[in-house]
Every structure is written in C-alpha cells, then in structure tokens.
C-alpha cells in the first residue's frame, strides 16, 4: 500500500533534475536493504509512520476506553450534580405541609439560607465580624468575633437569613463564609392552631403537639398531611371563646368540636395560646394545652354518664323518682344540691335541676363495680394513647374506690379527666352508643370502636339532654332551629386540698341537632368571674352556655346543618309570606 506512493510512473523528463526521481525499484515490493541506496531514508520514514500509527492507535483505544467505561477524571467532574441526573428532581422542601380538611395550608416549611463560617479560612476575623455585625443587627459584634475565632472548621453565624441579608453578605466577598440551604417552619394562621400543631425546633424537628407526635411521618414523606380540622370553624370558635373569656375575665378556656359519628375533631381551641412563629414571646400558661393535657374535675357534666349508666344497666327507668328532699348522708360526707328543689325528682328533673343527691342515688343503686366498668368503657380511665397531639394526660382516679367515691363520681367530683375525654365519651352517648377513638387525622381507618350503650338508651339520653337545654340550665344555648341538647357543669376548684367556692371551672357539653346528632361541642372556662350581667352568678349557665349558644348559631350554618324550627311548616310559611308583603 505504501509502495504505491513511491512507485508513480513517469516516462518522460520535462524538468531539469527530474532524472533523480525515485525509481521503480524504490518500493516495498522488492525491498532489499543492502542494495538500496535510500535504505536508511526508507527505514526512517517507515519508523515514523509506525510511530504515528501507534500514537493514534493509543489515543483511539484510550478514547474508546474513556467513552465506554468512563475514565476516573470524567467521573469526578460530573459527580457534583450526578445525584439528580436521572431521577425526577427531589422536592427541595423536606418536611411535609399540614393542611386542614379543605386543603388550606396550616403549617408549611419555607426554604431559607443559613450562614456558617469556616474560621480556618477567615483572613481577618475582626474586619469580618465588624462587617457582619453591620448586616446582622440582631447579633452582637463580640459574639460574631468569638465565633469566628473558634478553633473548629464549622460554626453557624446565623440561621434563616433574609434574602437581602444573604445578598449583602455575598457582596462582601469574604472568604470562609458559606451559605447552606435550610428550611423554617411557618404557621400562616399564627395563634389559631398553636396547641394543636405544636412547634418545631431550629433543626425543623417537632418538639410539641402534632409536630412531635407525627414527626417521623412529616419528615419521611413530603405528601401534605391532611387533618380533620376546619380552619374557618376553628377561627369562629376561637373568636367567640376569646370574646367570652374576656367578658367573664376567665383565666383560660377550651372548646372542642367533634363529629359524633366518627370522633373526628373539627376544631380544638385552648386559650390562652401563643404564636408558634414567635416562641420567645410565649409564657407558661399560654404554652399549656388544656384541651388534651388539662385535668380537671368536670362536675355536673358527669351526670350525663351517670344517667346513661342508670338507664343502660336497667336499674333506672325514665319514670323512676328519687328522694331529693333532704341531703344524702354518707359515712364521711353529706351530699347537697346547689339549689335544692327539696322534693322527689324523676330522671329528667335530676338532669334539669342538676341534682347531686339524685345522681348519687342512681350511682349507688347501680353499684360500684358496674359504674367503674361503664366509665372504663367510655374511655374515662385511660390515656387516649394514639391521639395525634403529643401532650396528653391520664385521668386522675381515686386511689380507693369506695361508696363515697361512687357517689361523688356520679356528679363529677373525685375524678379528673381532660376535656378531650369528656367530649369523646359524650359523643359516644349521643351518637347511638358507639365509642370511637378521637382523631384529627383525615382518612384514618384503623379507628378503634366499641358499643357502650344501646341505641335505645342513646335515644332516651338525647331526649333528656334536650330537656336540659329547653327548660334547664342550658336554656341560653337553645339556638332556634338547631335543636341543641346538652348538659352544663360547674365544679369548684381544689386549692391546697380544699374546695373553694368562688373559683370554679364551668363546662358545657352539647350536641346538635338532637334528633340526629352530628356534632358535639365542649366548652370550658377556667375561673370565670361574676359580672353585673350574670347577676353575680358564676355557674356554667351564665357564662359557658351563652358562649356556646353564640358559637353554635355561628358555626351551624357553616357546618351545613339544616335549621329545623319548632314552628310547623304552615305557620312559618305564613310568617315568611308576610315578610314579603308590602
């Protein structure tokens, strides 16, 4: 092949010196080294050609190797952004959002930037600290300087920079200062869900409330966590409760709204509360979630469970009458009524006039053992273990459960439970008799449930409770059209081991509409004061009940409950027709 280059034929000479052309014998075909005068020349050319070939060969082989296997150097160069090459881009926000039942975001994480320094690389710590202190007015110069002079190679200067701060620090161009992507938990609704959601620490790890209980779930998956809470209703309830607390100058209050048929919590407010975005301003009582952790003696509200117990165990009929003419004398104490009727009362009247004597008699008639088993079935003895808010409390039970305890527990003394316990038990009484574990997680399937009372007892209880609201202490919560049924309770507070008369915890627990209960509402106020408007009374009927009435009339239309007037349709039509006439 190479021979052809050298064996071009040319017969005639046209130019001078052409006869010195390379002749025919100069070819690789009959290549004889000794005879050839150009032997050295040919050899050198051949050598050069082979060397070039070899070099190109090596380059080609190396190229192939690099391209197929991927040389090490190339791999390193591409390693920076290698992780996100083939998969879909990862969500830059790691902690999942929390949304309410309508999809409103109630907790979310925002991308922020953290500033850290490598003190080893800092050239002039004084100057750097001075410049940083000017940009970050909330950190003292001395603190920054101390951090920059530290021995290690990593120190946080400030978490969660604002974009303008980041820009300014970047513009300084100081070596040794680095940025790091971070995230910060934000609660756009501020105080509204403070106790429910809880808070996270600076590393975005849950430290209280739901954030702590479901921390793993929130960190593992970035799919938003859907709650059963309704932001609008929560807000309405909070506003009304806040107004009530201000009006009666109470220390605090709790409101829980529950769907009775599934025990899903629609709203849960504990006041006073705090702004989880500004934890430094929160004080002790404000941080305490009374709704799930606050143990208190509920008082007369317990008569609901007592009446259900009497009816369910068959010892008491609706028509049975109890002697409330005189205080009930037990071995160690005497049970009196708050405002005694001093006559024989039937079950309805016991609830309407909230008779302690009558309730105690029912409990004593049923018996201690049955009472305990019944209350245990209502979940009033156990911690609500898998409830999604971290702060929970176990009920305080009397150490020895004697005759006295049986009598006092009948009207809600001697046992301390949380508001959540009461509303859950109450829901199971009115919803047809099935106890559901309370939850705030939407679509939770493994809800434990069991029957506590029969359908018939539940129906009778609804009738009795409706009676309390129509003609008893719950009158002021009788919202026209929504058939509220419920029970009030006023319990004296225990101060230094003694019951104090002036300091009370007032509660109202109700359900609506009574004919087919859908929601249950619990309202509790801590130490409401008497005002002119309440004629000096501090009992539940004067403070929590009107507040509950306001709440129900405000939220029932939002909850899509059809108003059912006691008026008959014809008469209503006539009234409405009349309003259109001119």
């Amino acid at each position: 092949m190479f021979g052809k280059w050298f064996s071009r034929k040319s017969e005639n000479f046209y130019l001078p010196g052409e006869e010195i052309k390379i002749d025919k014998s100069f070819s690789f075909n009959n290549y004889i080294c000794e005879k050839d005068p150009f032997a050295t020349c040919k050899n050198r050319i051949l050598f050069a050609v082979l060397m070039f070939g070899l070099v190109y060969g090596i380059i080609a082989v190396r190229l192939m190797g690099v391209c197929t296997a991927g040389g090490k150097e190339v791999e390193v160069a591409a390693a920076d952004d290698n992780d996100s090459f083939y998969a879909l881009p990862e969500n830059p926000i790691k902690r999942a959002d929390i949304i309410d039942r309508n999809g409103t975001i109630i907790a979310t994480s925002l991308p922020t930037v953290n500033l850290y320094a490598n003190p080893k690389k800092i050239l002039d710590a004084d100057e750097a600290a001075e410049q940083l202190a000017r940009i970050l007015p909330d950190i003292r110069y001395e603190d920054i300087l101390a951090k920059l002079k530290r021995r290690g190679s990593f120190v946080y200067i400030k978490r969660n920079l604002s974009p303008s701060q980041q820009y300014q620090i970047n513009a300084l161009g100081l070596p040794g200062l680095e940025f790091e992507d971070g995230e910060k938990r934000i609660y756009p609704h501020k105080n509204l869900f403070a106790h429910l959601l809880g808070t996270t620490n600076i590393d975005n790890i849950g430290i209280s409330g739901l954030e702590k209980q479901l921390d793993e779930r929130l960190r593992e998956s970035d799919i938003p966590l859907k709650l059963t809470i309704d932001a609008g209703i929560q807000d309405t309830i909070r506003e009304e409760l806040k107004a009530g607390i201000e009006k009666f100058d109470a220390l605090g209050g709790v409101a829980i709204l529950m769907d009775v048929n599934s025990a899903e919590i629609i709203a849960m407010v504990s006041l006073p509360d705090f702004d989880p975005n500004r934890l430094d301003k929160a004080s002790g009582r404000a941080m305490f979630n009374f709704a799930t952790k606050g143990l208190y003696e509920p008082g007369s509200v317990f008569k609901v469970f007592n009446a259900a117990l009497g009816l369910e165990k068959g010892n008491v009929k609706l028509s049975d009458r109890f002697d409330a003419t005189k205080p009930l004398k037990l071995r160690y104490n005497v049970i009196k009524d708050y405002r005694g009727e001093n006559r024989w009362l039937d079950l309805q009247e016991i609830l309407i006039y909230s008779s302690n004597i009558g309730s105690a008699q029912i409990a004593l008639k049923v018996g201690q053992e049955k009472q305990r088993r019944f209350l245990q079935g209502l979940g009033l003895f156990d911690n609500i273990g898998n409830f999604e808010v971290y702060e929970k409390a176990s009920p305080l039970l009397p150490r020895r459960w004697g005759e006295e305890t049986t009598a006092t527990v009948a009207y809600g003394y001697g046992i301390s439970v949380t508001p959540l316990h009461i509303i859950t038990a109450f829901s199971s009484i009115v919803n047809g008799g099935i106890y559901h574990t309370p939850t705030i997680l939407s679509g939770k399937t493994q809800n434990e449930d069991h029957r506590v009372i029969s359908e018939k007892t539940s129906k009778a209880m609804r009738g009795l409770l409706r009676g309390v609201v129509v003609e008893g202490s719950g009158k002021r919560a009788n919202v026209l059209g929504y058939e509220v049924a419920g029970k009030t309770g006023t319990a004296n507070k225990l101060v230094n081991g003694k019951y104090v008369n002036k300091k009370v915890m007032t509660s109202f627990v109700g359900t609506f509409p009574a004919s087919n209960p859908r929601y249950a509402l619990l309202l509790m106020m801590d130490e409401p004061k008497a005002t002119k408007e309440t004629w000096g009374f501090v009992t539940s009927g004067w403070n929590t009940v009107p507040t509950a009435g306001k709440i129900i009339s405000a939220i029932a239309p939002q909850l899509n409950i059809k108003a059912n007037y006691d008026l008959d349709e014809m008469r209503r039509n006539r009234i409405i027709e009349a309003s259109y006439e001119r």
């Binding site: 080609a60 881009p89 830059p92 991308p111 059209g481």
Partner: protein, 127 residues
Amino acid sequence: MNNTQTATLSIWIILTCLIGCGMFVMKNQVQNLEKELARINRNIQDDVKTIHVLNAEWSHLNSPARLRKLASKHTKLNPIQAEQIINYSALPFDYEADESNRRMIAQRNINNRAEQNKLKKVVRAQR
C-alpha cells in the same frame, strides 16, 4: 509484511480511530444533555420553592382572621343566622302553586312593572 497485512492493519487502526472519535463525540453530547437536564432540574426546584413560598403567602392572606377584618371593613354583611335559612317552598315565587295563585303573583308583578314605568315617565317629564 505484505500488502494484505498492511491493509488489514491500517483498516483496524482507522476503524479504531473512527469509533473512538465517534464515541467521544457521543459522550460529549450526552454530557451536554445531562448538564441541560441538571439545569432544568435546578430550575424546577427553584420553581417548586417559589410555589411553596407563594402557597404559604396565599394561606397567610386567606387566614380567617384577616378575611374577617377585611369583610367587616369593606362589606356590611353579618354572619348568617339560622332564621335566615328557609325552605324553597317558603319562597314567594311558588311554581307549584295553582292557577289562581299564579295569576295573582303575575298580576302583582305586572302592577309593579306598571308603577315603575309610571315613575320613569314622571322622571322624564320632569327633565
């Protein structure tokens, strides 16, 4: 070394060179595409972050407390009361009504219309 051998050798060398070059070009292109992909992914992440921030802001702006403040400032609406919700049958335009009733409603509507027209005429005359 004869002609055939040289030919084979050179073909191999050229082939190797060609494949090597071809692969190099391809690898180069793939790397460019990967860079492009990484860039797009970064952009997506930035967009996701922005959307996240906007969502948070939207939620903040939609917080019930703020909406209530705005509503009370700009509208004269009160929270709805139970009495205000009535049945459809209670409304005055009852399509199920019998002949005479319907005629009465129609008559009333016509009268209203006539009164309105009269008013209009008066206004025009005054102008």
